[in-house]
């Protein structure tokens, strides 16, 4: 993973949370890189470290209780983790923007939508109020909202409209990189597809790099160019979308795909992954998936497997990658 070409590259990031005198490592050597003009899907179950990764890029992790043990996050050649708070502020919101799962939670209920967008523009882009206002209207139209929304309070908008307003805010300062953390989980399916189409359109228009975080493999297959699967704080498999869905190499990815119900699987049993995601404090030295893995052998419990690269930059961390067994 060459950081000269990638827009954002996370290298061997380790993050721990301490509570009392216990410490839980939630990111255990995270590696991820997002290119310009690419939507990178990050899929994982709850508690796997998806949101910690995104808040870590934004440098919004509360330290303490969080602690960054090691690693780098390069953005445009600079290590974000080495920046001062003051310097980071020129990146956050300006060059790296984020949209969240529940738009209602992240819009200020006491300010009109317009005021919230204009504030961003005046602060980051040093615009005057009038030109900022004009720009805000342009942005709202771009995301498919009526210009009247500028004078509305968040509670006057529906869930889908709120998410659109959030997106308008996020792209207001022409960021290079957008983090979308489960942006459609709170929305109905028909709205979901509209938001996805909007994100795709914006990516093409602005050549954005997007990190699209979701727990839904189907959803990611719809939007992403490249997909990484995260399990217990570490990427277990990463590939171009088509390769990953046609030929999953890690047993976890394969089981995940077989466990999602759809009409084609009717009548057959769903594959299940026994047990549940291990508690971050209880992961040993070996592969974190070993105790749920149907093909794990002794070696898996002893050492963590390194990354092996297959053709077309398909990387997997598993000793038995590509092994096919009966599900």
């Amino acid at each position: 993973m060459d950081r000269m070409v990638s827009l954002v590259s996370i290298e061997d990031l380790r993050v721990a949370f301490s509570f009392g005198n216990k410490e839980a490592t939630v990111l255990r050597g995270m590696n991820l890189s997002v290119l310009k003009n690419e939507i990178h899907g990050l899929v994982g179950e709850s508690g796997s470290g998806k949101t910690v990764t995104s808040t870590c890029i934004m440098r919004l992790l509360p330290i303490p209780p969080a602690k960054i043990l090691s690693g780098h996050i390069y953005f445009d050649g600079k290590d974000l983790l080495s920046l001062s708070g003051e310097q980071m502020r020129t990146y956050r919101g300006r060059r790296i923007a984020m949209i969240f799962q529940e738009p209602a939670k992240y819009l200020n209920p006491a300010f009109k939508i317009g005021e919230q967008i204009i504030e961003m523009l005046m602060l980051h882009m040093k615009m005057h109020k009038q030109s900022a206002c004009k720009r805000a209207i342009e942005l709202l139209k771009l995301v498919g909202l009526d210009e009247k929304v500028i004078d509305k309070y968040p509670h006057e908008l529906s869930g889908g409209m709120k998410q659109r307003a959030m997106i308008a805010m996020a792209i207001s300062c022409d960021p290079d990189f957008l983090i979308a953390d489960e942006p459609t989980t709170a929305l109905d399916v028909t709205l979901q597809i509209q938001i996805l189409a909007l994100l795709k359109k914006l990516k093409d228009m602005k050549k954005l790099g997007v990190l699209f975080i979701s727990h839904d493999l189907h959803l990611v297959s719809e939007i992403a160019d490249r997909v990484s699967v995260i399990y217990a704080g570490r990427i277990v498999e990463s590939a171009v979308k088509e390769d990953l869905f046609k030929n999953p190499l890690h047993p976890y990815t394969r089981l995940l795909m077989h466990s999602i119900p759809d009409a084609k699987k009717k009548g057959s049993r769903l594959a299940t992954i026994p047990g549940q995601v291990p508690d971050a404090a209880e992961i040993g030295n070996g592969c974190a998936f070993a105790n749920r893995c149907p093909i794990a052998k002794e070696g898996c419990f002893a050492d963590i497997p390194g990354y092996v690269e297959y053709e077309n930059e398909h990387t997997v961390a598993c000793y038995y990658a590509g092994k096919i067994w009966e599900i």
Partner: protein, 328 residues
């Protein structure tokens, strides 16, 4: 196999307080008639707020319907006295969406599981045996019996929710989005468990969900609900391969990664410009137009004047839309 449940014109109106509140109630469920066959899984899909859950609750007389009737195995639930109804509930149970809020945090798992049987005055020994069986059945270790809900994970809590529903030997379960709060790997476990239990005890399910992928995997028959009404109902295979109502088509075409994403013409709300939608919404308020009129790309004058009723297309496939020809 015969029918277990027949509902006829179930309507549920929520009335608000204040001036005129009792006059202009909110119709959450509007004239829904369904039949659920014995030992089948009936799926009810729709977006949030369309009345799925209200229908499920009205069906069980947890919130009795404003009008209409429910016949459960030849017994009309509306004619039962409150006491008889309580007694009758052991034949129908519900599994709720959120396992965190549907278990009493102050009751141990054992107490939660045996509460229903206490109400039915089942002797203690029998209860103990039953609780032990139940917890085995849903795949949880007996050591959990004297723990409390906060000590369990989401998936385990949902298993307890299912075990509790089964504690009184029901014939029929309403499953109200039982997996929407769970991770995919856990969802598969719960779905497999539900299917196993159905086969073992010959249960009948009403499966309420917004996840079309899941519903089309599980159910024998599917009804699509929109604004409190059924707009289309068919066998799963029929509905998936030949969705007729424009709303069903839109739902199916928006399943991420679904088979319908390819091939079916994508009827989107974008097909209509905002002005038309606004005009039509105004129109909808004032007259008795089709409920989907304001968003429907096929809508025309006929749709604006009268609401369509359900008509049969082919064996068991019913749809409510003016624009669909029934000719065979």
């Amino acid at each position: 196999m015969g029918n277990l449940i027949e509902t006829k014109d179930i309507t549920k109106i929520y009335r608000s307080r204040g001036l005129g509140g009792s006059k202009h109630g909110f119709k959450a469920v509007d004239c829904v008639s369904l039949t659920i066959r014995k030992q089948s899984i009936f799926g009810l899909v729709g977006e949030s707020g369309c009345g799925k859950t209200t229908f499920g609750r009205a069906l069980m007389y947890l919130d009795p319907p404003t009008s209409g009737s429910v016949v459960f195995d030849d017994v009309s639930l509306g004619s039962l006295k409150p006491k008889e109804l309580r007694r009758f509930r052991n034949r129908m149970q519900i599994v709720f969406q959120d396992p965190n809020s549907s278990l009493d945090p102050k009751m141990s798992i054992y107490d939660s599981l045996s509460e229903g049987m206490v109400n039915l005055k089942i002797p203690r020994e029998q209860r103990d045996r039953k609780v032990n069986n139940l917890i085995n059945l849903v795949g949880i270790s007996k050591t959990y019996l004297h723990r409390f809900p906060h000590e369990l994970s989401g998936g385990q809590k949902q298993r307890i929710g299912i075990a509790r529903a089964l504690s009184v030997d029901p014939d029929f379960l309403v499953l109200d989005e039982p997996t929407s709060n769970l991770d995919v790997s856990i969802q598969a476990q719960i779905i497999n468990l539900l299917l196993d239990l159905k086969n073992e005890f010959g249960l009948t399910y009403l499966f309420i969900s917004h996840d079309l992928n899941l519903v089309s995997y599980m159910c024998d028959e599917i009804a699509v609900m929109f604004k409190g009404r059924i707009v289309e109902k068919a066998k799963t295979e029929q509905l998936i391969s030949k969705p007729s109502h424009p709303y069903t088509q839109r739902l199916l075409s928006s399943i991420p990664g679904g088979p319908q994403r390819i091939g079916v013409s994508c009827l989107n709300i974008e097909d209509l410009d905002e002005k038309t939608i606004k005009e039509r919404q105004e129109h909808e308020k004032s007259r008795s137009a089709c409920l989907y009129y304001s968003q429907c790309p096929m809508g025309d004058a006929e749709c604006s004047l009268s609401a369509p009723s359900l008509r049969e297309l082919s064996g068991g496939h019913v749809v409510s839309c003016h624009k669909i020809r029934t000719g065979k």
